[in-house]
Point group: C3
Chain length 162, copies 3
């Protein structure tokens, strides 16, 4: 439980009972690749960070939102694979920032997500990344982040992977 | 031909002779991962759903557009692999919705794509998903969707995979 | 050194010493999949193509920007894997174009990236692609492109792959 202990040391609590979406799922595995749906900054299914950066929202606000997306991402993975030590590497995240035209620091917002993954997974947490702006996100959330992870062992779509 | 029969039962006709783009291709395979280019709601190569949701277009219009993107995606895959029963799982879709600022239901638009994949592939059709807005899509199409699928057998880039 | 000779024949010079980002990296490998971070049209770390197409920037300007993104992508890969002949195929690119509403030719901008990959890699350079607009990119760059490549041999996250 190395990774989950590290998460506790960082005073982060992973939410439980992440509900899957309608006809889509939070996590799907193919071989040792684990794909995660776009995560939003929600608590108990309700968006808690909304609005555009560069307009009504500050960059600090957006960075908190990005961190919450990562927390929800890890909770979704844990719910699927059982324990986060089954993750070998973070491969890629894609970060969409709900932006007013003229806000040019989507990469700084994404840095808070990248930093958190590094704080939790160490070197294995370094990943490739794309950070872009968008004129609108669902439910007006401030940030949405999807991810691809590498698992230590292979699986092919079964719910229980090891 | 289970999947294609299911598509017929749903009264969906897959278009034929999907033309590849200029220097890019509709489908490319690596191992058992099958990647599909961003699909637009076109018929015979012409966009048929255009304009922004939240402005001149309704959410119902956008949902039809999303369904047509999925139909074109499956036609592209069939054209490449020969028959859709070679698909084991839908892994991931990413859905871009041409949005007016203030339209907050990109996820509802994407639900129609997710639902159609589930109707066709059943449990294997459940996938991870990212749905976001954008201020502009090529040729002003209302929706663009890309996909990643898992094939039953491996292949490495050959045109004929089995 | 077939690929690098081809790059020289095209009078393209790959930059060296691509610096990794803060807590993320330009390239990460899983098996024979190689993921590349979103690349921007920068030289020596400074954005050199900025502004929106359809407003202050022409489509030709954006096409040059897209080509520079690809050059930087290949430089990042070379820096990571040592030589570009280790690449077997280009699998997928995703191209974001900083767009004014009403600019409808993101796919034409992306074509210049696709063409360059084809010119360099030949048939192996054909890839799937998604091209979309966005209302804002980091540092106001005109284009951002991420990529997935297939390597000839497998590796699992080590820095030196062969």
């Amino acid at each position: 439980m190395l990774i989950e202990n590290r998460i506790k040391e960082l005073n982060i609590m992973l939410p439980e009972n992440m509900k899957p979406g309608a006809m889509y799922v939070p996590v799907k595995v193919s071989g040792n690749l684990l794909f995660v749906s776009g995560q939003i900054p929600s608590i108990n299914g309700k968006p808690v960070y909304t609005g555009k950066v560069g307009k009504e929202r500050s960059i600090e606000y957006a960075k908190e939102a990005a961190r919450l997306c990562i927390v929800n991402m890890l909770a979704s993975i844990k719910d699927y694979v059982g324990e986060l030590d089954k993750i070998k590497e973070v491969l890629r995240i894609q970060c969409f920032v709900n932006s007013e035209v003229g806000f040019l620091e989507q990469h700084i917002v994404a840095n808070s997500a990248s930093q958190l993954l590094y704080d939790i997974f160490g070197e294995a947490g370094r990943h490739v990344r794309t950070a872009v702006g968008t004129n609108q996100l669902p439910m007006d959330v401030t940030v949405e982040i999807e991810g691809i992870f590498q698992m230590k062992e292979e699986s092919y779509g079964e719910r229980k992977v090891l």
